[in-house]
Symmetry: D4
Subunit: 250 residues, 8 copies
């Protein structure tokens, strides 16, 4: 459309419907508008089920609610991560459709339901890793991917995981969430031949160094085909997994 | 075949050609054989264009050549990474089809040419990052993906990258290879909405700490949808990119 | 039982009570069931005096009490570590036998008293290390090992330790708990020829880096036969010491 | 020379060509006095619009107010950084001219308005980096430099920055404030040929390690002409940028 | 000019000297050309005495000589850093004007002499820091700045530095090069009110960690107005100092 | 008390209530004598099949041979670790019984064969970890333990390990040797209920940081009952495993 | 030898060539007695003005008061470090002589005044370093050394320090307390030829890493004769300085 | 006071109570001259048996020999550290009195023998630590202190150290040299009440991180009165120990 706008403008000048001066005035927005294309593409992407994302940590409650209020009015879907219940209280007043995933600490507002596509598996090593896993899951779901959860399948009791080999095989991409030794990523990466997105968590104490032990273990996974996101970055993993999953359904 | 062995065994029992005791004896190997199935699947996957991979660093030349010799005889495709020219000299004598990518320091033996599918872009920030980029590219190509190279498009001269926005848009997945500040991953991640696999390299000196600066920058990318592999791990990135790319062509 | 299920199935096929197809269908669950055996073994192991262990940190009080309530009903022994007094208040209401080790912050429920076997010594360098030492001691005792405590025998006053050489000699394994310089592990490791499990603690400030100084010192112990667990991991040390101690009493 | 000057001076006094008072005046140029001069120069510099700076973190409210009270009476301009609103409450009572920059958490007292000179641009990658950016901006402004703010122009949406290329070109020095991947410093450094002062911020989580990821990325910037100050050190960057900017207006 | 090119193009269309299709064809290069302008500006900057810079580490001798050969033919000035004598041997054959700074390990080719402007001081703490200091000095000189060297004025004998206070005062910017404790940067920063660019060096052993001790000390300088570049990055410091110095002479 | 016991003893001797021999017997329990005894015990232990151990790294060939020569003459068994083939050449000349384990780089001289007792399993994740595994194995064997090797059973192909569950169950202690992600320790620790000694290796590159990734993963093992020795410390693991194994055979 | 000496002594007693008293006298030189003596020496040392020291951090108020109460009754002098005012409230009730150094957070009880000997200088770089400096000063004073304080003489205004060169020269040992860049230790170490004990403090933010920047700078001091204690360890520095100072007054 | 002294002096000259020559003489005591004096004092100090020290690492052989040649001609004593035998070959030709300590890698030239004073003990944990210990010893001896060596008294065989308690007690200061766990510093610090200078060494592998493990352990020594110098810095420890030892003999 920008392209067609441009085409129309040039034709208008050619047909002298517009003066060179008017054209110059409009063209000075060109580089910006060209890049704006990216933005427009982005907006389009968003309208296709991809919500606006607000990272709430470090923002005041009233700020977040103001942002969401403004977005809701433009008809945008909303995903707010790292949001405490007090934020949800405020958001609920703005839009009744707002839903709260207490474990993921995520608020979702979806304007209309769409059928979820493909299959992402989100696996966590322990129960303490579930909040990060849920953040990944709710992110991918809000963006339009189908997600199956395999929680508490850590390698200290490996039969729990082996039991699930078949379902792992069916996914187009697997998100592995683990703290401490991060070993689950390597074991899953060895069992399946699909992309594995590993999320180290800050679960642990002492020499886990807030997730560094899991991060390093995952970066050094002896299984090929494993990539890693930041510690506790469930959102990033869910977002990337969605992008990968979408490749399989197009 | 394992599956058919099992089938045959059960039929033999059904037909009383084998006693339950004999069956029990054989079935105790089942879990192994079952898992062996995974191995067979894996082998099958390999026959579908996925080569055997030998990581040469720290292995003696004669060991590597012996391994490849044995594999070549089974008709397997071969990918040998981190291989010096002296290794290639030996491999060439075993199989004339062996090709050497001097920059990637990779040896490839492909039994028959297959058409490469989909599109992966491998982008490097500087010229010093090219060996790692080539390792990623040759890995993905040997596995069956089409790869386009965008080398030396680092952010210190960002127009070089912006000029290539259109080609970036066409890929199903982008591998970004950068040392030092690792900034290219974030900029590419902001320009496209496709999965980005970031590979930090050990290029740099002083406070680059052998690639740690780029690794951390990439893990903290302000663009969502970026995941990271180990420092200089071109092979891992190429392998993962291939897995993702294959999702788009199936 | 799994095994007997399997046996029965094979006999059913042999007797043609089941078709090969039905058998194949059931056999595909075999690996899981086989591994399920491991789980049963595990349970059996637990019934032999090894309690269920609940790590309380990061769990809500009501969650912990619910877990323990459920376990208590199955007749299981309980060990809950890192448990504040408020958790004990709740647990006491569920089971009167619950005991609280305030220093170790551990709750223990033992269904019946068993005589403690072998000898583990738990030595701490300072008084501040005692909570971690107590966690190790109570863990090993709950699992069935006899434990003797040598607290505050740090090397800054080495005669305190040397006075205890004789008792050190009698143990089958020694747990050494120390923060700061972690030197006690090396000195004990040099005095005795028994396995030494070293536990670095986060006691200290500044360049102790939360236990890293003690951890590194212990990993680099000039005495051979010293192995190390995570910082403040009294539970892990107690558990491992118990496993080692049991070897000597079997 | 200093020595011969001294010799001549002493002889002049001996011959009563110079009075003791004149000698004392000149002796303050002795190397020692030279150092005293540095102090005097410094004072003079301060009177020329350069305020006294009080770093409030870790000081008690009453201490800070006492210090400012004393300074205000000497007619000095004041810049107090990392000052909470409760400090401003106290300062306001001392001097009505006191102004509070809530975002920068800075208190400024300027005795008389002076026209701001040259041009410094302070750019931040995200909205969370703005407090540090404001600290830099208010520092430079209080010292006498003109500052233009470009906030939220991070590389994940690079068109926002490219749109501003022209204004970047006009500055004599650019302060770039960014956390996480710190990539903005490299991109800005590549776009302009002016000095760039990079300020890493502690914005981020996990492997951002409190600003270390941005710090390392900035130290390893692939663009030449970038120097770095401490994490979150908006004051230092503003102060240095002012010194550089002043070179262009003299 | 781009602007005027654009204006001309639009007028040509208006006057129907160019068809809309021709205009579209040319306009699609616009964003690129706009950024290409940056490149042209950059080139112009280079022609104004700013040489092409080649970082030789990790490049083969024949590669470097080929690059320089090509550049020399375009009439460009050359600065090659981290260049061993064997590279200089080759370069001398290409261009007789090539000069070699053995200490800085830098090769310079200047087409015509220009008078050096302003004043940069490069100070080193010890004699071992001189190679890095020389790299900074030769970089700034090749770019057109006048440089004065103050070598071996470390704080362990502080009178050596204090004797030079007056000359420090005259510079527009000071580059301080120091390893180990990096203390010189703070002392110089406290003596003068000019911008200080600190360069940590890898001089030292043990807990200097290849320059990390000096790097951290400099980042934490108690003097305001000090910024830091990468360890051993004499080139970066020289380049930035030149940019700052040029502000004072324009 | 010791003091009063001593006083009483001396008085008894003085009064000839005790003979000097009785006094000597008692005095050997003095703490000092206790320590002396430790030495004697230690020596005795050594004579019971425990060899003298020489760590060769950083020692000159002639020094090592001189040490061994001297020991051999006292009839001691010898274990020399980290010994290159040039050292073995020299040792062979001193004692024909000397044997060289090329992979472990260990020289062993056993005066007489003794039957090996108990069972230690040494498992390695990859083939590159074998040298460290061999050092552990040869150490334990030389000290008198029976060792079974399970090499190349890393978790990227977990069926290789699961196939060996039965043999793992039979060992009294398991040494797990792994680099990179160190995940094997957790998986083995979860499969068996025996003590596990984990040895991180320096195998890997980039973010393996010379074995730190494996070290941290092992310290944070999600399986209880795992303790860790220094990176590449096969000797320490073998020595500790032997001490533990001996508990089960006494 | 020790053994034969002992044997001879016992025989001498038995033969009544030596009295029990003579034997006891000699036996105290036994290594054990030596150690016992060390304890006695230590006690004696303490009675000679060296107080009992209680590190209060992490201990409950009632515990500390109980310890002090017990000690006070034995007539011991007391030094309690890291003691909040609430502890002093309790201690004051036990012993009216108790004094509280609010800045050092130290409680001192001296039974009788003794004249302080020698001269220790405690210098701090900034005002924020004073609490640590005071801890060092009060420790040394309580032990019996004369202390002179030079606070806020950091190198950013080096004339403040140079003015004090003469007094620095008179001390037998100098304690230098500094955070951030730790540069004061090197400058003082270069000015005087007396032992310098450097205390890094955790003052600073960002890349000061809780005192690591100062610690590393001090360990790498370009001045010889500087040794370092733990971050914020004013007590350790005061204690060591006292030991050194006492050498000069004996 | 300085200022008033100065005022009085000038008035005396003015009144011709003092000649210009007398004034010049006194003026050299001005703070600046004081600093000059420091240099003179320093020189004087050197002439009193304190040699010139040359750190040879990173300097060319011919440079070192030139420096020494120049110094020798001024009659200065010489200490050259980290000097290989090839340097000694050259130095021997300049001055026959040159002696080479092969283990310490130190060259010493003493013009005249002086009796060594006081007592420093240099203790090492292992034999591999001896080179660093020798560097400390030879440094202190060359400066004029008497040194006694206690090598290989590490804590893994603590009786070796305890046997030497008496000699430890006699020293005025003890230098403890240890790598790996650095535990010897704490044990010695607990045995004696004299100043202890701890020198961590880079002896070790894996998690010793080139001496960091020992460094941290020593900084966190549980014994008070221990200070630490840089890793492998035998010279620094010897120099500081000498300064401390001299306090006891003056």
């Amino acid at each position: 459309m920008n392209r067609s706008n441009l085409k129309k403008l040039i034709h208008d000048v050619y047909k002298q419907k517009a003066t060179p001066e008017e054209a110059m005035e409009m063209l000075k927005y060109l580089p910006y508008e060209d890049l704006g294309f990216a933005r427009v593409d982005h907006h389009r992407g968003l309208r296709q089920g991809f919500p606006e994302v607000i990272y709430c940590e470090g923002k005041a409650v009233h700020q977040i609610i103001a942002i969401i209020d403004k977005m809701v009015k433009t008809g945008s879907d909303i995903l707010a991560t790292r949001a405490g219940p007090e934020i949800f209280e405020g958001v609920k007043k703005i839009d009744r459709k707002a839903e709260y995933n207490e474990i993921a600490r995520a608020i979702v507002i979806k304007k209309r339901r769409v059928s979820l596509k493909g299959l992402i598996i989100v696996a966590t090593a322990g129960t303490s890793d579930i909040p990060v896993g849920e953040e990944a899951a709710v992110t991918a779901e809000t963006m339009g991917s189908r997600v199956e959860r395999l929680y508490d399948v850590g390698v200290a009791g490996i039969h729990r995981l082996l039991d699930k080999t078949k379902v792992l095989m069916k996914a187009s991409v697997i998100v592995v969430v683990a703290g401490m030794d991060g070993a689950l990523a390597s074991v899953v990466g060895g069992l399946v031949d699909k992309p594995v997105i590993a999320v180290p968590t800050s679960i642990g104490y002492g020499a886990s160094f807030g997730g560094v032990s899991a991060l390093l273990a995952m970066l050094n996974s002896c299984a090929s085909g494993v990539a890693v996101v930041n510690i506790d970055n469930g959102f990033g993993a869910g977002c990337l997994a969605h992008k990968i999953n979408m490749l399989s359904v197009r």
